[in-house]
Symmetry: C6
Subunit: 83 residues, 6 copies
Amino acid sequence: MLNEIWLPTLNTNTPQEGFELAVKLSRLAVMVSQSSDDNRHGARPAQPNDASQLIGAAHVIALNFQTIAAANDWWRQPSSNTE
Amino acid sequence: MLNEIWLPTLNTNTPQEGFELAVKLSRLAVMVSQSSDDNRHGARPAQPNDASQLIGAAHVIALNFQTIAAANDWWRQPSSNTE
Amino acid sequence: MLNEIWLPTLNTNTPQEGFELAVKLSRLAVMVSQSSDDNRHGARPAQPNDASQLIGAAHVIALNFQTIAAANDWWRQPSSNTE
Amino acid sequence: MLNEIWLPTLNTNTPQEGFELAVKLSRLAVMVSQSSDDNRHGARPAQPNDASQLIGAAHVIALNFQTIAAANDWWRQPSSNTE
Amino acid sequence: MLNEIWLPTLNTNTPQEGFELAVKLSRLAVMVSQSSDDNRHGARPAQPNDASQLIGAAHVIALNFQTIAAANDWWRQPSSNTE
Amino acid sequence: MLNEIWLPTLNTNTPQEGFELAVKLSRLAVMVSQSSDDNRHGARPAQPNDASQLIGAAHVIALNFQTIAAANDWWRQPSSNTE
């Protein structure tokens, strides 16, 4: 897909970093869906532009955040917050 | 994303505080989706304005509440309710 | 959000009470989404009025019921059914 | 909501009975959403009538089936199949 | 619902068979939603016919696959692959 | 469905490979939904072409990624990253 390592781990130090990773994953999934035809390469990413689409995007973020939160055992153990 | 710590933990004292955090997270996700283009900064957040959008927003809240509830082990252990 | 305690616990005695709590949570989430602008206060809650919206509302209920069922360990242990 | 006990347990003997319970729960959730205004009482339940709505209904069933499957520990232990 | 046993177990030998079962469950849920009125019997099943509906159908499959994957403990233990 | 083994395992070495598998599964689910009528065989796969559909596709990917992440125990244990 992409010839580089862009997701080495789901671990983050804090819930906030986990949320930011969820946003990143969500945008990437939109991009991947868009570029599945070769002739789409180079097109600018789809941009949600009305309330329904923004809510849909928030839904994807929430789902990815759920995955990342589980991966981090919901940040129950105190960790060194480096931010 | 935002240059401050706004989500230090997913822990809340009560389910109700957890629900309120879910609402906060959901609004933030909508805002983040909206502001992903630089030229959107400053725009007022999308506002759900019909029943379908409100139900969609409630869906996002439900998903975030599910994550937060798991993070708090569903508040099964009695905690000091500070509210 | 609301200056009272309306969700002290996710525990219910029976699946049926859990379902009813899920309905309550879902309606509340719709209300909260609706009232996020100050000028919406006092408006009557959105009412699903076609099949798509009713199915969407049922979806939110199903998601909240999933959360509540987990909170109650799926009511696997017999409890004193007070209803 | 309803003045009778219609959901005493989430336990079923087989996945198939669990699926049927999921269908029942999903229909009930649609009905409950519909009847939340008093003046809706007596109206006939919403009926999905196009492919999008049928898929939406299937989505709600899938979510409830997920909950019920977890409640039954995914029917991993052989049980006396009474059907 | 149907007077035969069509879902005796959620267990499958491989993820692939689990995916196929998820497809079967999803189609069945659409059919069940469609046939809930008696006068629908015999109608041909709804067929997704545009990209949005196909994505919706894929969503239902993904949800059922999640359930089935959990039921099979994500096929972590090597099993005799009979296919 | 397909007369070959295309999903022998849900295990991947890294979250990134898991994400790529989630994309693959999601596309397959769309294809399977499309080809459920015999007369659809050979049609080119549905291609999301607006923001709502791209977000919907991202949603399916997020759900499949959640399943795959669970299957890999969220890649918590360091594994030999072969990529």
